[in-house]
Subunit: 242 residues, 2 copies
């Protein structure tokens, strides 16, 4: 029997780390929703980089770059951290570099696990199907906000745990997973309403990004499964090559 | 307006640290319940120490020592990590040294804050009254289990937040506090039933410590407010000297 576990902050990752697990990195608002959007629009790959300096170096080499810090687009970037920025006419067949406040850091931290995939509400079923097929232990790594717990990433963990428990007989016994399941049961009838309370939702609202926030809460708008390649340090869509 | 925040793991403390806040260290199962029990039984002070070696050194100097690692009493210790071990006939007017798996470590980490107090269900009202009188920001520091999130410490945070919100107009807007409040609302009608799901409850059950677990969930069995003195590195009962 496999189990699902959830880690509420990148800073806690060493405590939950399991080399043989699938790590699902989630940053609902907005990095992992954006990565799914870019690959869904036909980008060849997404290259996640941790620092603005790395992103700028790629930009200088001619790459298209998405960059965000503290909700705002970085000045030299071609895209911000919003899925719809990455439209097919701009990104199809391109390698896109992305650096964000929280999400790309979480990828960097977990990149040595068995397999690292990108999760968001927009590709929830794709992630669940991958886990169910692999039958490995699953660790959801919430990107959080500056290492703090956040509701939206945690809620994604609850949604995934609910599927894996129901369809895959996954064990959901850890304290953290049990709490995420309770959250999901409370939220699932109206996720948008539930999320209105989250700090980052309020932050996005202040930046006139409510429409984006709502988009990021829609389930299964993309069929992509972004998976990290340790050799090339890129995310590609595993489902596209199937 | 003051706010209450909750930190789910000692490892996250640097992220939530606020020098001017009251830090409430909680380890429901069982260190902070035990500390309240010892002071409630009339111990003059409790000296929390992080390592078994420090505890042994105190023992060699003639102190009474409580020591626990991984649920079990440490071999040289006079007491385990169970409140009823510390009966008045044994501890009255004594300075008691305590070292436990998680709780005493959390105290060590947070000892430089404005004031550090010990919280457990057994002294919930005493902690709430202290916070309401001080009107400072409050940070609940969950001891967790080996730096992992746990349900019982988090639930104490929800219970405290509920009182501070209702009686003190405290802000409870952070994502983590909102989740603890939801947990508390779900649990409060039957805390024992809710906690049955927790990993550490199961662990205590395996060690025939269910009765202790139930005791640790009772509210307001003690009127003590253990507060840490930075000079003497001891916890004393603030309420006794009032």
């Amino acid at each position: 029997m496999s189990k699902i576990e959830i880690c509420f902050s990148p800073r806690l990752y060493p405590v939950y780390e399991e080399p043989d697990a699938i790590v699902v990195v989630v940053d609902v608002f907005r990095a992992t929703s954006t990565i799914c959007g870019a690959l869904g629009s036909g980008a060849k790959s997404v290259i996640p980089v941790e620092t603005i300096e790395e992103a700028k170096a790629y930009k200088d080499k001619g790459y298209l770059v998405g960059g965000e810090r503290n909700v705002m687009r970085v000045d030299f970037a071609d895209f911000g951290n919003t899925p719809s920025d990455y439209s097919p006419d701009k990104v199809k067949d391109q390698d896109i570099v992305i650096s964000t406040t929280n999400g790309t850091r979480a990828i960097e931290i977990a990149k040595n696990c068995y397999s690292l995939v990108i999760g968001s509400f927009s590709n929830l079923s794709a992630v669940a199907n991958y886990c169910l097929a692999e039958q490995k232990n699953v660790l959801v790594l919430c990107s959080g906000w500056r290492d703090r717990f956040n509701i939206e990433d945690t809620l994604f963990g609850g949604a995934l745990a609910d599927i894996l428990k129901t369809e895959g007989n996954y064990s959901v016994l850890s304290d953290s997973v049990q709490v995420t399941l309770s959250m999901w049961h409370e939220a699932k009838a109206d996720v948008g309403k539930y999320i209105e309370r989250s700090e980052h939702y309020v932050r996005l609202k202040q930046h006139n990004l409510l429409e984006v926030a709502r988009y990021c809460l829609q389930t299964d708008t993309e069929h992509v499964l972004p998976i990290y390649d340790k050799e090339t340090k890129r995310l590609t869509d595993l489902n596209r090559n199937r």
